[in-house]
């Protein structure tokens, strides 16, 4: 135990004395956040309308008509769950339909609006009005326009930085896991350092344990630094618990460290490490929803990205940061990462070698 601790401390010392390591693990992610944080990518996305109440057929009809409008995305659910989504900033409007509602029923329509997104809300109301009017017009018996009451709901103002930061954090965890370990380990092996260590009574698992411990400490620092910068400079709304974030980050970190050791095992030289690591990490970096939502991906691609470890990590981190989700709610992400960590540790052990 003492040996592992000393090895860990020594590894940390080596790590912090390496300029490149600090640049890659801390400064680059920060740079990304600053760069993308100040450039606004917000533009108008889809207008998300929730339809609550009215399990009956006319309600379904209205939801269908709204859904036909290209910029609208309709979801249906109970009033309470849709309200919750609205408060979380995930809906722009929520329609609360009375029983047996249709355009000619004369019944009043209650609309809950997101007060944090005025543009989308206004546009959504216009579209809604138009759809209802068309319907009224079609039914000659209609008594007049459908009455609507608006009710403003204080909702989370969700900005791009809120979306981006947990993503970049996950990306940083992946990069320092894969690149840091694969590159560092192959270099140690090539330079004969590991060989020198293997004539001492130190056991390989001591060395690996220390490396992993060191990397995980760096990872926790990454989390604290990035979230801290987000809160201080970008008004990041951190709703979750830091401990949950740590737990999710550590599990993700374990996966990527194991992938790093796996790559170090299959790479012969340092020159082979970089392309290998890129092949693994680039698709995830681009497709796991770090910078842009995966919902814009073509369906088959999106389905595949569903299972990327970085997708699980980024979704989990984002959900903790933005929605204050706790771990039990993120069982899918945790299970995904756990499965990945089993597979990648197994693969890393298979191909591991000192020389």
């Amino acid at each position: 135990m003492r040996l592992r601790w000393k090895l860990t401390v020594a590894s940390l010392k080596m790590f912090t004395r390496q300029k490149e390591a600090i640049i890659w693990t801390m400064l680059l992610p920060l740079f990304m956040v600053f760069l993308f944080g100040f450039v606004s990518f917000e533009g108008l996305g889809k207008i998300r309308i929730g339809v609550a109440g009215g399990e009956d057929e006319p309600a379904g009809q209205l939801a269908g008509q709204l859904g036909e409008v290209r910029t609208v995305q309709v979801t249906r659910g109970s009033e309470s769950s849709e309200l919750e989504q609205l408060t979380a900033g995930k809906r722009h409007l929520v329609l609360v339909l009375p029983e047996q509602f249709h355009a000619a029923s004369g019944k009043e329509l209650r609309v809950l609006v997101n007060d944090g997104t005025p543009e989308e809300t206004q546009l959504g109301l216009l579209i809604l009005r138009k759809v209802l009017d068309d319907e009224t017009f079609r039914m000659h018996t209609a008594p007049g326009r459908v009455p609507m009451t608006l009710q403003s709901v204080a909702s989370r103002r969700s900005s791009y930085i809120d979306f981006l930061l947990p993503g970049v954090l996950s990306l940083a965890i992946m990069q320092s896991g894969i690149f840091g370990v694969a590159f560092g380990f192959v270099a140690l092996r090539k330079r004969g350092v590991l060989r020198r260590l293997s004539v001492t009574p130190m056991r390989p698992q001591d060395f690996i344990a220390a490396q992993v411990a060191m990397r995980l400490m760096v990872l926790l620092t990454q989390i604290v630094v990035l979230v801290g910068v987000g809160i201080v400079f970008f008004d990041l709304q951190f709703l979750g618990s830091l401990l949950d974030l740590f737990a999710m980050g550590l599990l993700g970190g374990a996966v990527f460290l194991a992938i790093g050791f796996f790559l170090a095992g299959i790479a012969r030289t340092e020159d082979q490490v970089v392309p290998l690591a890129n092949v693994v990490s680039l698709p995830m970096m681009l497709l796991s929803g770090v910078f842009f939502s995966r919902s814009n991906l073509p369906e088959p691609v999106r389905l595949v990205t569903e299972f990327f470890p970085l997708t699980y990590l980024a979704d989990g981190m984002r959900s903790i940061v933005l929605e204050g989700s706790t771990l039990p709610a993120l069982w899918l992400q945790l299970a995904g990462l756990a499965l990945w960590s089993i597979v990648s540790v197994w693969a890393a052990v298979k191909v591991f070698r000192w020389e």
């Binding site: 003492r2 090895l7 140690l188 004969g192 060989r195 020198r196 004539v199 001492t200 009574p201 130190m202």
Partner: protein, 250 residues
């Protein structure tokens, strides 16, 4: 007898790199394995050091079978590899402390460094040292566990004559502290000056094993005459006579 090597063999594919090698080393001896590149010196040493698997034969070190008790053997030996490097970014002092931890020991880096005349460079990193200093540092690194037996694989190769002589002094000092030293070299005068006993190795086999004066005496007794006489014969002649080729030709 602190080390006994019996019928040791190593094959790489078709190549028999170490061929039924046997020798033994006494306590507090400086024992040299002399041979050209490719003779099998490193393979022999690294089998003894637990670094390479032994194909056949036995090695007994301080009463322990190396093949069966690698961990206890590792506690008793200090090793300088032919090519090696240490962690970057740690200075000499930190490296020695860390290496000591690997043996579960708290070492005194200053004392170790002064053993190899590097006490002034405790804060330097290995890359900042000269070639001779780097070699001396890796000798210090081989001493962190206060080993019974120290293995040095070509400790002076690539060094200038002064640096080489400096290292000889260090090696003699280590021996005078009661340790046994096994080293390899392809320098004749090094074997002759430094070693109490020399095994001459060629193409995987040991062709002679005796103190240098005896090897030379035996050669002269066999009627050998040098063409141009400065001394009656030196180790180089012994080597030539035994192997039929010069040491440096490969």
């Amino acid at each position: 007898m602190i080390l006994a090597v019996d019928n040791l063999c190593k094959r790489y594919g078709d190549l028999v790199a170490v061929d039924r090698v046997s020798f033994s080393v006494r306590r507090q001896e400086i024992f040299g394995i002399l041979g050209p590149n490719g003779a099998g010196k490193t393979s022999t040493l690294e089998m003894i050091e637990t670094l390479r698997p032994i194909d056949s034969g036995t090695v007994t070190l301080d009463g322990l079978d190396v093949g069966r008790h690698p961990r206890q053997v590792q506690q008793r030996i200090g090793v300088q590899l032919q090519t090696t490097s240490f962690f970057e970014k740690l200075n000499l002092r930190e490296l020695l402390l860390l290496l000591g931890e690997l043996y579960g020991r708290s070492v005194d880096p200053v004392q170790l460094l002064s053993e190899v005349d590097l006490q002034d460079r405790a804060k330097a990193q290995v890359e900042q040292l000269s070639g001779g200093q780097q070699h001396r540092f890796s000798v210090a690194a081989a001493l962190v566990n206060d080993p019974l037996l120290v293995f040095l694989d070509e400790p002076t190769t690539g060094l200038d004559p002064q640096a080489r002589r400096h290292l000889w002094g260090v090696i003699r000092r280590i021996r005078s502290e009661g340790k046994t030293v096994v080293l390899t070299t392809h320098y004749m005068e090094e074997a002759e000056e430094l070693c109490d006993r020399v095994a001459i190795m060629d193409r995987g086999r040991i062709v002679a094993d005796a103190p240098p004066p005896k090897l030379i005496g035996d050669l002269l007794a066999s009627g050998f005459k040098k063409e141009r006489v400065e001394r009656l014969a030196n180790l180089e002649d012994v080597f030539l006579h035994l192997t039929g080729h010069a040491l440096q030709e490969e």
